[in-house]
């Protein structure tokens, strides 16, 4: 199983509601995924600065060590087990290199606007721990996990970052992830877990490093990723949706003048404003959809 949700706001007046609406959508998906939950929020960015989301048992300690370790201009926001550290763009590579050597600090994602949070537990609890209902932004994607291919751990929770301001959530399971992981390791990619979705994320990252756009990477993924999947991909400016060729996993979308929303089931969309007047449809199999602004 697993549940995935996505909300892309077209009307800026609705941006302050993004976190609250996404939290409600995630909670509705508890039945499809009670093991862990996660979400990516595209909120305010600051020109010239990049945000790195890190998690660890003591994010406060990570912040203190960062300030003492050559990143005096770092600004940090703490959310439960996660810290979002913002540094000037030219310091981000050094920060990431330092974080990779720092014990008890896992990099979750990076971007000018994207922040990623994920934890083990019921979706409503995870959303509350990170104060999701208070967050605002232009779009968010989220995931509730029912583990099938690997253990119930925070490492196994989605979203998986696929690059700067990019991340992926997945409903389904891939059958060739072991082979693909081996092949991608030979190409220099690194993987932290035995999770199939991390392989899909790594595959897209690798394709994009080779010069493909995200849309083209998803298209060629239809050939290379064996299994069943519905992907929702977040980018700096929007989100994309792709279902496998036989549309094994459910997907429903709604569009109004104010937003485009994605849910594994219609129930996810039922409480969105103006849903009674929304255009509702199921995305076609093997077709890449994108919304941007």
């Amino acid at each position: 199983m697993c549940g995935i949700v996505g909300l892309f706001i077209k009307d800026p007046a609705l941006e302050p509601e993004l976190g609250k609406l996404t939290a409600g959508m995630l909670e509705t998906m508890t039945g499809r995924g009670p093991d862990s939950a996660g979400f990516a929020v595209y909120g305010e960015g600051e020109a010239g600065r990049t945000k790195v989301t890190v998690r660890g048992t003591s994010p406060l300690a990570i912040e203190e060590r960062a300030l003492d370790s050559g990143f005096p201009s770092a600004k940090t926001a703490i959310y439960d087990t996660h810290a979002v550290i913002s540094v000037p763009d030219d310091e981000v590579e050094a920060l990431i290199a330092w974080l990779e050597l720092t014990p008890d600090a896992e990099i979750v994602g990076r971007g000018s606007r994207m922040e990623i949070f994920k934890e083990v537990g019921l979706p409503a609890d995870v959303a509350a721990r990170f104060s999701l209902p208070t967050m605002s932004g232009t779009h968010a994607i989220g995931h509730t996990r029912m583990a099938t291919e690997s253990a119930v751990t925070t490492d196994g929770a989605h979203p998986y970052s696929t690059g700067q301001d990019q991340c992926l959530v997945h409903n389904g399971s891939l059958s060739n992830h072991n082979n693909l992981r081996r092949e991608l390791r030979l190409e220099g990619m690194t993987f932290e877990t035995e999770n199939d979705t991390e392989v899909a994320a790594g595959y897209l990252t690798w394709r994009m490093r080779k010069g493909l756009s995200l849309g083209d990477a998803l298209e060629v993924g239809l050939e290379d990723l064996d299994g069943f999947y519905t992907f929702v991909v977040g980018t700096e400016n929007g989100f994309g949706v792709l279902r496998d060729g036989i549309a094994c996993k459910p997907a429903v979308m709604a569009e109004t003048d104010q937003y485009v929303a994605f849910g594994s089931e219609y129930r996810v969309l039922a409480d969105l404003p103006g849903i009674g007047q929304a255009r509702i449809w199921e995305p076609e199999p093997a077709t890449v959809y994108f919304w941007e602004r």
């Binding site: 036989i246 549309a247 459910p250 429903v252 089931e265 219609y266 129930r267 969309l269 199921e282 199999p285």
Partner: protein, 229 residues
Amino acid sequence: MPEIDLGVTPLRELNGALHKLPKDTNETHWVIENPAGQHAIAAGLDAPLKVEIKGPVGYYCAGMNKLATVQIHGNAGVGVAENMMSGFVHVSGDASQAAGATGRGGLLRIDGNASSRCGISMKGIDIVVKGSVGHMSAFMAQAGNLIVFGDAGDALGDSIYEARLFIRGDVKSLGADCIEKEMRDEHKSALHNILSKAGFNGEVDPGEFRRYGSARQLYNFNVDHAGEY
């Protein structure tokens, strides 16, 4: 006439009340408000009721239906009227995957489009879709009629047994062992009867439809292949 607000009444309570009704009940007309996409609404009915659902429903709405008429004013999720035995289920919007799956009898009418696998493994149900149906519709369909005013997606009628498929629009591709067949007067007459039962009396010309069915090459034991087993 009981009116149930599913925003207030728990779904199990509603379904429990519907299941307890005797066949000769006087409470034959039920109205359900605020379904909000919940699953298994009005599943397992077994009395000549009329149940009106005012809004979109989730999975398996009116599943296993016997005798009842279920009217859904909105879209339906996966498996609407799945394994229906008898009665009438009418969806005013679109239906998701596997509408009418494994249905043994009764009539399912969908005014919008139906998604993939419509009528999968149908065993006697009649399904009328005003819009189009998605890929793998009537997969392994055994008996009954699937009637589509619009188009059919890839692999229509794959591994079909004896169900009859009537499609007015284009068929993207036919599945294994499914072929177009001659539309004779007896088929036009049968189609006319089902369309009338579905409420399209005289509105639609059965002559505009093309008939598809089994080539009967796949499911019969072929003595010439005996050596291969």
